[in-house]
Symmetry: C2
Subunit: 332 residues, 2 copies
Amino acid sequence: MNAVPVAELWRGGRLESAHLGHAVIVDGAGQVVQAWGDPGLTIYPRSACKMIQALPLVESGAADRAGLTSSQLALSCASHQGAALHRQAVGNWLEGLGLGESDLRCGAHEPYDLAERNRLIKTDESPCQYHNNCSGKHAGFVTLNQHLGGGSEYVEPDHPVQKAVREAFEDVTGEVSPGFGIDGCSAPNFATSLVGLARSMAYFAKAREDGPSAREKAAYRLTRAMAAHPMMVAGEGRACTELMQAMAGKVSIKTGAEGVFTAILPEQGLGIALKVVDGASRASEAAIAGLLVKLGVLEAGHPAAQKRLNAVQRNCRGIEAAFVRPAADFPG
Amino acid sequence: MNAVPVAELWRGGRLESAHLGHAVIVDGAGQVVQAWGDPGLTIYPRSACKMIQALPLVESGAADRAGLTSSQLALSCASHQGAALHRQAVGNWLEGLGLGESDLRCGAHEPYDLAERNRLIKTDESPCQYHNNCSGKHAGFVTLNQHLGGGSEYVEPDHPVQKAVREAFEDVTGEVSPGFGIDGCSAPNFATSLVGLARSMAYFAKAREDGPSAREKAAYRLTRAMAAHPMMVAGEGRACTELMQAMAGKVSIKTGAEGVFTAILPEQGLGIALKVVDGASRASEAAIAGLLVKLGVLEAGHPAAQKRLNAVQRNCRGIEAAFVRPAADFPG
């Protein structure tokens, strides 16, 4: 099935650029409620599946053994800005484990947060691994690894940590993963169908606090942790943070590189996954906002929603030059 | 006609993201040599038409009156990095006219050049209009404006400067422009068909030093200036600069925002224009490199070509995680 238009950029009254995508909504029974494009498409979820990658951390008992808070669980699912807030939280977490920055295997990159970026430049300090947007996920990996007693190279695909991630991933997507790619943070990122990813989000949506399995309880806790700590999941100005704040803890959402977005709607018992064909975040953000409005969990008029439904681009002199919005017929 | 696949991103042996686009090659007689997708599509050329926007500067005699060098003409066609090199060149240019930074109307943005960016941050200096990637084009506008004696607001669509740009634009594209959008630098950006844009590039390609019109002579000079000063047109590491260097002055190329690229091939008498539907530069760079190789003006094995034909993405630990390349059947 062909991809459908999901977002577009307008300038001077003309369509300048357009984005195609695929999206699917799945219910708690694992059934497709609605689909756009090809829900069977094999994709890499990238960071949009971080809550799945955090399942073994919680269900194994490692999180409780380390005394992790709800805020830390949110951070384990984060693609954060590398602000001082996030750097310090990850640093304190590692210290609490008796470990340090050199135990991470995510690598370092310049933080997205401008205040922290400028502080580093002014003090001639290099960014460290705590600044990596995936450092919370990696803090979760090393916490699990300490519990499991595995070797230091916890991002290797055959390491006990990644084997546990794969097992959980295949369970909640309901599919055998056809393989993996190496993510920006060096961890394996397991492929799945888009509907498999949405099915996993529906698993999180229907998970109960007193569910029968450790996995279901873990899914419940991670979903609530994300919704309760939106600043830890991303940061100032970011779509995940602002949209979760706008939905006041009722919905958990997560962006992924290359145009992926997922959403968990516990009250509706629904899971959403979408992939923009060309990988553009501006399009995945417009599309997920459109879907959340359609499902009645996001007010279209909320400033955080408008920022994605009518993403005005001001130029260097503050003039409204263009805007990005969901495509005319999406989600319909 | 539908867009065709022009570029793709691969990770872990799987196609992760894909880009559609339109492209067309036109000869010196204005005839289409080959087209992909819809050459009739109306587009904004964005910065890929800066050499057209510089035509009135040269053909009016304003450039010679101000004693502009070939390097300054290249800068008038640039989307530069805002490196010290560019900032100083634009500053000296304005000073030479008895004008200053406040006479520009492009606005300021943080320079892309990291050394200059870090210098500003360390010294608590704000970026100035000279850092704007379009400041060379605007230096050309104010030079023309000084010659024409127009008012200070030279980016207004009905200002003599922009009227002259529009007349030249419609002449070399061979089309009446259906209108304009406001560009990132506040100048009007006139719309045209993709084939119109390629036709204008073919006009530049066939322009002779001793041509019969001031416009043709201006087109010749601008084409050679770009090819002779690739560092002024963009900067370190950039596609325009590195690919023009690789083609050793034989071809002039220019990127534009939202996935546009143009090329002028004087020896072949050909003009190229391409537009990536979703606006991604990584795709337009792969696509233009593929076209230049196909036309025999770029060696596929040259490092600058490989950087776009097989654009390896290394992650934070230096591991090859993915690569972007032209689509399998593009350009064929």
